[in-house]
Amino acid sequence: MKLAMQIGVALAAMTAGASVSFASSGTALGAQNALLAEAGAHGGGSSASGYLGVDLRDISQDELSALKLKDAHGAEIVMVDHDAPAGKAGLRERDVVLQMNGMAIATKDQISRMLRECSPGRIITLLISRDGQQMTVTAQMSTHEEVDREAWEHHVVAPDLDFDAGAADSRTAAASQPSPQVRGGNSFIGSLLTSSTNTGAMMEKMPAQLAGYFGASAGHGLLVSSVKPESPAALAGMRAGDVVVRADGKPVASTNDWTKAIKSAKGKPVAVVVLRDKKEQTLTLSPNAGKRSGLEYPVLQMQRAPATIARLGLSWMPSL
């Protein structure tokens, strides 16, 4: 039986990125969908191409029965970026796009062109066939850069996970915390872990060649890869591309050094010396130690394992 769909998602949820719902009619997209599409057309504001996060191909006659299609019209999704609007909307590989914004899709080239013409922010409506059942999917186009940024932030923010934790919903739970079995030479210091400090700056150690490029001596300095807007780091004037070389008068060679300096300040302003265009600049950063930041690269430090942990066979503990 052909199961048809109708969008049940509020237009107001434009910021949610995407949604899927089932409906009661198997006909073409209705006026509501057209309205959604039209409204989405004004949701953008950028002339750049939007990003949905799918790769598609034409339907061949050989696939008709496997895809439970009547004819070879449409475009089959062969890849989905689960971090992108497509993934959030619930699109899957082997879904076949039959319509986009009410317009029938005949070939992969057609929908590719239509997607290229969609600006970021625009809401699109897709009628798809999944195992012979039709459903309508809405998604808000984004940009590659925005998806990358969000994916990275999500990747860094990591709740603890332990043996006894219950299962969280698939594709909704946050990332797990990084393994303590981190690399970092003999220092056993990780470079991509969550911190209890909250400066809003993402930092990482640099290989020697990169350090040289930025004018830092080998083994010294942390490269700022991004700064969260309105964060303490941003308010201090820190920018992506800066290299933090000293904090509170002490050299910063690792994320451990950085975290120590921020923590020891206990919320008071810290003088942070950065390399910018190979010249030192001093910034005054007022850390907010009261919140947990998902945007900062913190520290895992080797500690002597407590006896209880040693009995569990876990020899590492994060020191934040």
Partner: protein, 135 residues
């Protein structure tokens, strides 16, 4: 589960995690119920000091990389941070079903330029060469 979690002996933990991995591979408790086996495997992947245990945990998590974002992210963390090259290599293999994901590609980009192991750099670079048509 207690063996995977608490055994002081590496071999016991490896065997325990392998048993849990088999449970996951045949789709028992990893699919239904509380999912505690999957959590235990992810915890072993993150925390265990023995690379063989972590490899066994990866093996058990393989079927769930595409379906469970937490599993994908745990494997991503292993790719980026695990000290053992075999674990990192296996993590790349496991991520194949989700190699179009932005987070995966970002991690691959990082690894392709920074990993100390040339095989891992090369393999991650090859992964990045795919999925060029995604839009």
């Amino acid at each position: 589960m207690m063996g995977a979690k608490a055994a002081a002996n590496n071999g016991v933990r490896t065997d325990s995690v392998s048993l849990l991995a088999n449970e996951c591979k045949v789709g028992h408790e990893c699919v239904s119920g509380s999912g505690s086996i999957r959590n235990a495997l992810m915890a072993s992947l993150r925390n265990d000091k023995n690379p063989n245990v972590r490899l066994a945990a990866l093996e058990g998590l393989q079927p769930y990389v595409a379906a469970d974002e937490r599993v994908r992210d745990a494997v991503l963390q292993a790719l980026m941070h695990d000290a053992n090259a075999n674990v990192r290599t296996q993590a790349i293999n496991l991520l194949q079903p989700v190699d179009s994901d932005s987070s995966v590609r970002q991690a691959m980009r990082t690894v392709s330029t920074t990993d100390e192991n040339p095989y891992i750099r090369n393999t991650s670079m090859q992964v990045l060469e795919g999925a060029s048509g995604i839009q």
